[in-house]
C-alpha cells in the first residue's frame, strides 16, 4: 500500500513554490538595485527617509491605538456574550461575526460615507473610529471563543477560596483568557499596519499608512524599495508572532 503521508507532497511543493519562494524573492529584491546587483541602499533608504519613517511611526501608533481600543471595547463585549447569564442566543454572536464576511473595502467606504453624511471631518479621529469598526469583530471573536470554552469551575474555585466576583475576574478570568487576547492582537495589529486603501478612504487621503507606501512603490515600479519595506514588515510580523497567539485557531473556528 502506498503511504498516505505521501499525499502531503503535492501541497508541500505548492507551498515551497508559492509561499517560500515568494518570501525569498522579497528578501532577494530588497537587497538588489535596479540592475540586479547586491546593495544595502534600499534598507538604508528606509532608515534615512523621513517621510517613510514618519509614516511607519504613524502606522505603528494607529495600530497600537486601534489594538488597545479593540481590546478595551471588545473584551467586555466578548465577556458578556460568553456569559450565559446575559446571553443565551447564538444569533447575537453571529451578528458580531457577520461584518467580518463582508468585503472590507465596502464596509470601509460605507463607514466613510456615513461620516461624511454626518458632517464629520475625515482625519485621525475618523481613521481610528473606522479601524475599530473594521477590526473589532476580529478581537471579539477569539476572546469570546476562549471565554465560552473556559471551564466554569476555575471561577467557582476562586470564589470558593474567598475571591469576590471582581477579584475572580482579574485574578482568574483575565489571565486565563490571555491566549484569546493575543490571537485578537495578532489579527488586529499587523493588518492595521499593513492596510492600504482603507486609511485613504477614511481620511480622504490625509493619512497614509505603511501598507500604502509599499503599494505606491510597487505600483510605481520601485520594486526593490517596495520589497525592502515589505521585508521590514516581515521582520515585525516575525516578532509579533513570537509573542502572539493562535490566529489559525481564531479564524479557523469561524465556521
Amino acid at each position: 500500500m502506498r503511504k498516505r503521508s505521501n499525499w502531503s507532497i503535492p501541497y508541500f511543493i505548492f507551498l515551497v513554490f508559492f509561499v517560500v519562494l515568494p518570501l525569498v524573492l522579497v528578501a532577494f529584491y530588497a537587497f538588489r538595485d535596479r540592475e540586479g546587483s547586491f546593495t544595502l541602499d534600499n534598507i538604508a533608504k528606509f532608515f534615512s527617509d523621513k517621510d517613510t519613517l514618519s509614516t511607519f511611526a504613524v502606522s505603528l501608533e494607529v495600530a497600537i491605538e486601534n489594538t488597545l481600543l479593540c481590546i478595551l471595547i471588545g473584551y467586555p463585549a466578548a465577556w458578556i456574550l460568553a456569559n450565559k447569564k446575559y446571553n443565551r442566543s447564538a444569533v447575537t454572536i453571529i451578528l458580531f461575526i457577520l461584518p467580518m464576511w463582508i468585503n472590507a473595502l465596502m464596509r470601509t467606504l460605507a463607514t466613510a460615507q456615513l461620516f461624511t453624511t454626518l458632517g464629520m471631518n475625515l482625519g485621525k479621529g475618523t481613521l481610528l473610529f473606522g479601524m475599530v469598526y473594521d477590526y473589532l469583530p476580529f478581537m471579539i471573536y477569539p476572546i469570546y471563543n476562549i471565554l465560552s470554552r473556559m471551564d466554569n469551575s476555575y471561577a467557582e474555585a476562586a470564589s470558593d477560596l474567598g475571591a469576590t466576583p471582581w477579584k475572580v475576574f482579574w485574578k482568574v478570568t483575565v489571565p486565563l483568557s490571555m491566549p484569546g487576547v493575543m490571537s485578537g492582537v495578532l489579527m488586529v495589529f499587523m493588518p492595521t499596519v499593513s492596510t492600504f486603501a482603507i486609511s485613504e478612504f477614511l481620511t480622504n487621503n490625509k493619512i497614509k499608512l505603511f501598507g500604502t507606501i509599499i503599494q505606491e512603490n510597487i505600483n510605481n515600479s520601485m520594486w526593490n524599495y517596495g520589497a525592502a519595506l515589505a521585508l521590514v514588515m516581515l521582520v515585525i510580523i516575525g516578532i509579533t508572532s513570537l509573542f502572539g497567539g493562535d490566529k489559525e485557531e481564531a479564524e479557523g473556528a469561524l465556521i
Partner: protein, 462 residues
C-alpha cells in the same frame, strides 16, 4: 452551639421546571465524614453546590452553625471545595495555587509561606512548590487541590467526586489517605460520590439519594444490612430482590415458599419487596434444615468466594456467594436465616396516572392520547385516575411504534422477571415488568392495550 454544623431543611431545587431536589432534610454532625451517594443525576452534586454557595435553593434553608447561609455568596462562606476535575488554576504554579486564598485574605507573606509548606507536607508534596500544575499527574493534582482547600482552615471540606478521575489503584490509595487526613484535620468532610464501595469505606454516615430525594440515611453497616427499599438494596452491594407477600408479622412468602422473618408492621397479605444478600443463602445437606431446593446453573470463582446462580423448582433465579463451589447441574438444598431476610415496603404496586380524559375513549398519559375502554359516567374532560399494572405495559423495539417514547432508566432483576423504570421525560416514569432483556439506555416505544387501562373518576375538589 449544637452538635449540628449543617442543618438543611425542606430544600428544593428545580432547573428549567425540572425538579432536581425535592424536600431535602439533612443534618451534618460536627467533625463527621458524611457521603452523599447516588447514581448520576440523583441531585447529589446539586446539593453540594448549594452548600458551597454556587447555587441558591428555590425553597428551604441551609443553616451553618445555626445561621441561615442561603443568601451568602461562596467567597464569604467558611468552607472550601475540592472540585471534581480539581480546577487548579493553569496560569499559577503549585505554590500560588495553594496561596491563592490566603493572599486574598491578605495574610502576611511569612505566614503564607509557613502554612503553604505545612499543607504541602500534609499531602506529601513538599518538593513540588514551583511546579506548573499541568506537569503533575492526576493523583498529584488531586493532592494539590486538597491542599489548596485545607490551607484556608475551613470548618467544612466539600469534596465533589474527587477520586473519579483516578485509576483504580490510585483511587484505593487516596481513599486511605483521605480517611487519614480527615482524622488528622478533625474537620467535617462532606463527600459526593457515585461509588458505593468508596462510600462504605470512607464514611461515618451515608446519605443515599435517587431522583432528587433522600432514600436512606445511616451508617455504612445499617445501609448495607437494612436497606429501606429496593433501590438502596440494589445500589449498595449485590442482592437478590424479589416480590413477596407479607403473610402476617414475622412471616413472609416469596419464590413460592413461606419463610420466617423478623420484620413486623407490614400488615397482612400485603405485597412487599424482599432482599436477600447473596452471602446469606446457605447450602445444607440436612433435609430438616433445607427450606427449598434449586439447580446450580453457573459457578464462577471470584477470588475469595464463588458466585453461583441457581434456579429454584418454580423458576426463580438467585445469586449465591459461598466459599465452596457446587458443580453446575447439581440439585442443592438451601436455607435462609430469618434475620437475613430484609422485608421492605413496595414503593408502588402499579402505574398510577392522575390525568384527564382527552376525548371519548382516549385518556391522556404524559401528553399522549391512549385509547381506553369507554366507561360509564366518564366523558371528555373529566379528571380520572388511570391505573396500569406493571406487566401490562408493552415495550417495543422501535420508538416510533409506541404511543410514548422512552428510555430504559433503571433495571431491577426480580429472580424471574425484570422490573424496569422507563423514563418518558423529566420526572415522568412508567414502570414495567417484563421477561425480555433490555439494557440501560435502550430507547423504546411504550404501548398499552385499551383493556389494561383501569379508569376511576377523580373528584376534582378532593
Amino acid at each position: 452551639m449544637t452538635d449540628h454544623i449543617i442543618e438543611i431543611s425542606h430544600l428544593s431545587k428545580s432547573f428549567g421546571g425540572k425538579k432536581v431536589l425535592e424536600d431535602i432534610n439533612l443534618y451534618v454532625r460536627r467533625g463527621e465524614f458524611i457521603t452523599l451517594l447516588g447514581p448520576s443525576g440523583c441531585g447529589k452534586t446539586t446539593l453540594l453546590r448549594q452548600i458551597a454557595g454556587f447555587l441558591q435553593p428555590d425553597e428551604g434553608t441551609i443553616e451553618m452553625d445555626g445561621k441561615d447561609i442561603s443568601g451568602i455568596p461562596p467567597h464569604k462562606r467558611e468552607l472550601n471545595t475540592v472540585f471534581q476535575r480539581y480546577a487548579l488554576f493553569p496560569h499559577l504554579d503549585v505554590y500560588d495555587n495553594i496561596a491563592f486564598g490566603l493572599k486574598l485574605k491578605k495574610v502576611p507573606q511569612d505566614e503564607i509561606d509557613k502554612r503553604v509548606r505545612r499543607v504541602l507536607k500534609l499531602v506529601a508534596m513538599s518538593d513540588y512548590e514551583d511546579r506548573d500544575v499541568d506537569t503533575l499527574s492526576g493523583g498529584q493534582q488531586q493532592r494539590i487541590a486538597i491542599a489548596r482547600a485545607i490551607v484556608n482552615q475551613p470548618k467544612i471540606l466539600l469534596l465533589d467526586e474527587p477520586l473519579a478521575a483516578l485509576d483504580l489503584k490510585m483511587r484505593k490509595d487516596m481513599q486511605i489517605e483521605l480517611k487519614e487526613m480527615h482524622r488528622k484535620l478533625g474537620i467535617t468532610f462532606i463527600y459526593v460520590t457515585h461509588d458505593q464501595e468508596e462510600a462504605l469505606t470512607l464514611s461515618d454516615t451515608i446519605v443515599v439519594m435517587n431522583e432528587g430525594r433522600i432514600q436512606q440515611i445511616g451508617t455504612p453497616v445499617d445501609i448495607y444490612n437494612e436497606p429501606v427499599n429496593a433501590f438502596v438494596a440494589d445500589f449498595i452491594g449485590e442482592s437478590n430482590i424479589l416480590d413477596g407477600t407479607m403473610i402476617r408479622d414475622k412471616e413472609v412468602s416469596f419464590i413460592g415458599h413461606d419463610f420466617k422473618c423478623v420484620d413486623t408492621g407490614f400488615g397482612e397479605n400485603n405485597p412487599v419487596d424482599v432482599v436477600i444478600r447473596p452471602e446469606d443463602i446457605y447450602f445444607t445437606d440436612s433435609d430438616n434444615k433445607a427450606q427449598f431446593t434449586a439447580t446450580v446453573k453457573s459457578c464462577i470463582f471470584k477470588g475469595v468466594h464463588y458466585e453461583m446462580f441457581v434456579e429454584t423448582e418454580l423458576g426463580y433465579e438467585l445469586m449465591i456467594q459461598d466459599y465452596d463451589a457446587y458443580p453446575v447441574g447439581e440439585t442443592v438444598k438451601l436455607y435462609i436465616k430469618p434475620s437475613d431476610i430484609q422485608v421492605m415496603q413496595k414503593l408502588r404496586t402499579a402505574n398510577v396516572f392522575e390525568t384527564e380524559m382527552s376525548g371519548d375513549g382516549t385518556v391522556s398519559i404524559f401528553g399522549e392520547d391512549f385509547e381506553c375502554k369507554p366507561e360509564l359516567g366518564i366523558s371528555q374532560g373529566d379528571a380520572v385516575t388511570a391505573e396500569v399494572a406493571f406487566d401490562k405495559v408493552e415495550l417495543l423495539d422501535h420508538m416510533e411504534e409506541g404511543t410514548l417514547e422512552g428510555e430504559v432508566h433503571f433495571i431491577l432483576y426480580k429472580g424471574n422477571h425484570y422490573h424496569l423504570t422507563v423514563k418518558i421525560g423529566e420526572g415522568q416514569f412508567i414502570y414495567v415488568d417484563t421477561q425480555d432483556i433490555w439494557d440501560k439506555g435502550d430507547l423504546v416505544g411504550v404501548s398499552i392495550a385499551p383493556k389494561d387501562i383501569k379508569l376511576t373518576k377523580r373528584d376534582e375538589k378532593a
